[in-house]
């Protein structure tokens, strides 16, 4: 069965590129371009992985993560953050909010794919 991934990214170039690459690797992919669309999708479907940017319209990145962690369906879904924000303090904040991994932009697709496979194969840890 296909693993389902939700990409939350407002930069269409990046989201389309990721969608194409992930579909090529036989993942089921959905894209949300803003916070509202992301929350709608999260409340209606269970995903195997959520790949999100930290700066998206209508919601702050940390708020979105908190909401995902509180949502019934995706409570245990691993979250991978892909962001151009590279401040060490922010990365620590994000990781301690229950995110499983963090990649800074510009990113290498090889590293991203390796992390995605690692998160999908590894047992999921839940942070309360």
């Amino acid at each position: 069965m296909k693993k389902e991934i939700l990409i939350i990214e407002d930069e269409k170039i990046v989201s389309y590129f990721l969608e194409t690459r992930l579909k090529k690797d036989d993942f089921g992919v959905e894209v949300a371009l803003d916070g509202q669309e992301a929350m709608r999708k999260i409340h209606h479907k269970k995903y195997d992985l959520i790949l999100t940017d930290m700066m998206i319209p209508n919601i702050s990145g940390l708020e979105l993560i908190m909401k995902i962690k509180r949502s019934g369906l995706n409570l245990k879904t691993p979250i991978l953050v892909l962001s151009s924000l590279s401040s060490a303090d922010l990365i620590v904040d994000v990781l301690s909010s229950g995110v499983n991994d963090y990649i800074t932009k510009p990113f290498s697709i090889k590293v991203l794919m390796a992390k995605i496979h690692q998160l999908l194969d590894a047992p999921v840890s839940v942070t309360n």
Binding site: I13, K105, P106
Partner: protein, 374 residues
């Protein structure tokens, strides 16, 4: 031209009526011009977004499915480039969309995939199109071109970038300096001596950002650049020195404290503190009395940052003088930064203290306050 009943009016009223009519026509024409321009610009923007979509979908579907340039069969590469070339030649909108999309990909991706983007960019001759924008009479177009050159790491345009450092517009020159830094040009820091105009805070941050993004950049000894006449250049150098911890410049920075420039002194004092320059302690204490209050506060904070112990007595004396809230706060913070000695110093001075002094001591005994977390 005027209605008949107006011609019977006195000359002054007739003149006023004519002038009002002319003003009205000019205002209407301006409004129409602005409106038409806005509509055209909005249309152009929409077209660019549509064109970008076609371009990034094409690149994602056909080029970026490969991980490295060598993975793409030459025949396939040729076919794809021919197709993109037709797109490029079809309209100005597609040319712009191709350039902007590639720059965006380059900003977001790293690793071997960047080779694919760079190769496509060069083989489509987009670098030549970007360089041609340097001839534009609009300064923002020239600045945009320089920004695109640096983002695409196009070292084949180095000579044109060097020429742009002589541009009459400061924003264009700053973009050219940043491009030289990113392209790792051998003389990329010459501007620190040659630039005579004041750089704004934004220019300085932009150049610092270019330095931080440049790979394999050899930073020079900034001691000589600290002696130039352009104050904003010295300010930029201080920021670079602190960011990259260039300790070899400390003696020159101490020497500059005597230039009697309040703003520069403030920056120098702060920088010496951040560099933990113990050798600057005596000089800082020497200039203390002649400096304005803000700088005095910064000296106390710098001595606190250095925290060698040699200035604790000086700081404590300033704390006891209790001359202003700012100095009291800085002196207490500086005392608190001498962590092991702080408790005993606080105890020794705790008698006969004002309530303000006692409150400040209590405040900085809390480590989270000391580090500005609370």
């Amino acid at each position: 031209m005027l209605p008949l009943f107006v011609t019977s009016f006195p000359f002054l009223i007739q003149l006023t009526a004519i002038l009002s009519l002319i003003a009205f026509i000019i205002i209407c024409a301006t409004i129409v011009f602005i409106f038409v321009n806005r509509v055209r610009r909005a249309g152009f923007k929409r077209d660019i977004i549509k064109a970008e979509k076609i371009v990034y979908e094409d690149l994602s579907d056909n080029f970026l499915i490969y991980n490295t340039l060598s993975e793409i069969p030459e025949k396939k590469l040729e076919q794809e480039l021919n197709r993109l070339s037709k797109l490029k030649n079809s309209s100005k909108i597609f040319r712009q969309a191709l350039i902007e999309t590639m720059v965006k990909f380059k900003l977001n991706l790293s690793g071997t995939m960047v080779e694919i983007i760079e190769a496509a960019y060069l083989r489509l001759g987009l670098n030549k199109l970007v360089v041609s924008k340097l001839k534009s009479s609009i300064w923002s177009k020239r600045a945009e071109a320089l920004n695109q050159i640096q983002e695409m790491n196009d070292s084949s345009s180095l000579a044109k970038v060097e020429a742009a450092t002589k541009d009459r517009n400061i924003d264009v020159r700053v973009n050219a300096y940043a491009a030289l830094i990113r392209l790792n040009a051998s003389d990329c820091f010459t501007f620190l001596i040659e630039e005579k105009q004041q750089l704004s805070a934004w220019h300085q941050v932009y150049l610092l950002d270019a330095i931080s993004k440049a790979t394999n950049l050899q930073l020079p000894d900034f001691s000589n650049y600290l002696k130039v006449g352009n104050k904003s250049i010295i300010s930029l150098c201080i920021k670079i020195i602190v960011h990259y911890k260039r300790f070899e410049t400390i003696p020159t920075m101490i020497g500059l404290l005597n230039r009697r420039d309040e703003e520069l002194n403030y920056q120098l004092i702060e920088a010496l503190g951040l560099l933990n320059a113990e050798e600057a302690e005596e000089e800082l204490k020497e200039i203390y009395q002649q400096e304005p209050e803000n700088n005095k506060s910064q000296i106390l904070l710098a001595l606190g940052n250095i925290a060698s112990g040699a200035s604790l007595q000086f700081i404590t004396a300033e704390f006891l003088k209790n001359r202003s809230h700012l100095l009291l706060k800085s002196a207490t913070q500086a005392m608190a930064q001498h962590r092991p000695a702080f408790a005993s110093a606080a105890l020794q001075t705790s008698q006969n203290l004002t309530s303000g002094q006692q409150l400040m001591l209590k405040h900085f005994k809390e480590p989270l306050n000391l580090h500005g977390i609370l």
